[in-house]
């Protein structure tokens, strides 16, 4: 069964999640606020988002008429 996956959507999800997580980690003092840290956490988020898009469970398609 061929699945229709959404890596671009996963990329954007990871981008926003990564930036959000980085800012929250900064503001609570978990990580030092540096541009390098912002880039690293965002990159990790993007990787996780794209991986999520490729491993997400496949749901049955709605039959077209």
């Amino acid at each position: 069964m061929k699945a229709r996956r959404h890596p671009v959507r996963g990329f954007l999800a990871g981008l926003f999640l990564g930036i959000g997580a980085a800012l929250l980690l900064f503001v609570f003092g978990v990580l030092p606020f540096t541009l390098a840290m912002l880039g690293i956490v965002t990159a990790v988020g993007i990787v996780v988002g794209v991986v999520l898009a490729y491993v997400a469970p496949v749901r049955p398609a709605e039959p077209s008429t």
Partner: protein
């Protein structure tokens, strides 16, 4: 499912591998000079002290400043530095820069900085935020570099960074759920399958 778990485990290990060495970083440091600083709050109460090299101003114990208050400093260079320029930077942004003639050829300096003149970090310095700061004095006779971490006063929720982070994470989460539940089997046209009654 096993494949999913393997990939998630791999992503987790990669995350830890990337973050662990960076978060173990460094203490307040000084080369070519020593610096002692003491901060006061907007109402004049003593806030924090730090020395470089020495105690305070580290990533685990950042130097606390109130951008409505002041910072008193005492510095001593290892050599006489004349016709110099000093620069204070944070996050790649120059907070303050000026020239120092030092015609008297002194090796010590003391004074007080009114932080109300340094407002470019105001939106960021709240909650537990730890920002690396570097100060450099370069001139004839030598160079002095001091680096450490500063933090602000107030709660995390008083920072716009907190709300920006929440908003970005909420958008990311919505997109992640859309990705997760939007993965479907490729649709097969009903006509090619002989039709659906």
């Amino acid at each position: 499912m096993n494949r999913t778990l393997r990939l998630l485990a791999l992503a987790s290990v990669a995350t830890l591998a990337v973050l662990a060495p960076a978060s173990a970083a460094s203490a307040a440091d000084a080369s070519g000079c020593t610096l002692t600083v003491a901060s006061t709050s907007a109402d004049g109460a003593a806030l924090d002290k730090a020395s470089a090299p020495g105690d305070g101003g580290t990533e685990s114990n950042p130097f606390q400043v109130d951008l409505g208050g002041k910072v008193a400093y005492v510095g001593k260079t290892d050599a006489v530095i004349t016709n110099g320029t000093y620069t204070v930077t944070a996050l790649g942004v120059t907070l303050k820069t000026d020239t120092v003639a030092n015609a008297d050829k002194k090796q010590t300096a003391k004074g007080e900085v009114d932080l109300s003149t340094v407002q470019s970090l105001k939106p960021l310095l709240a909650g537990g935020v730890k920002i690396p700061v570097t100060g450099t004095l370069t001139g004839t006779g030598g160079t002095c570099t001091v680096s450490g971490y500063i933090t602000g006063v107030g709660s995390a929720t008083s920072s716009p960074v907190f709300y920006a982070g929440l908003a970005a994470a909420a958008i990311g989460l919505a997109l992640a759920l859309w990705t997760l539940f939007g993965t479907k089997a490729a649709a097969v046209a009903a006509t090619t399958a002989g039709g659906v009654s």
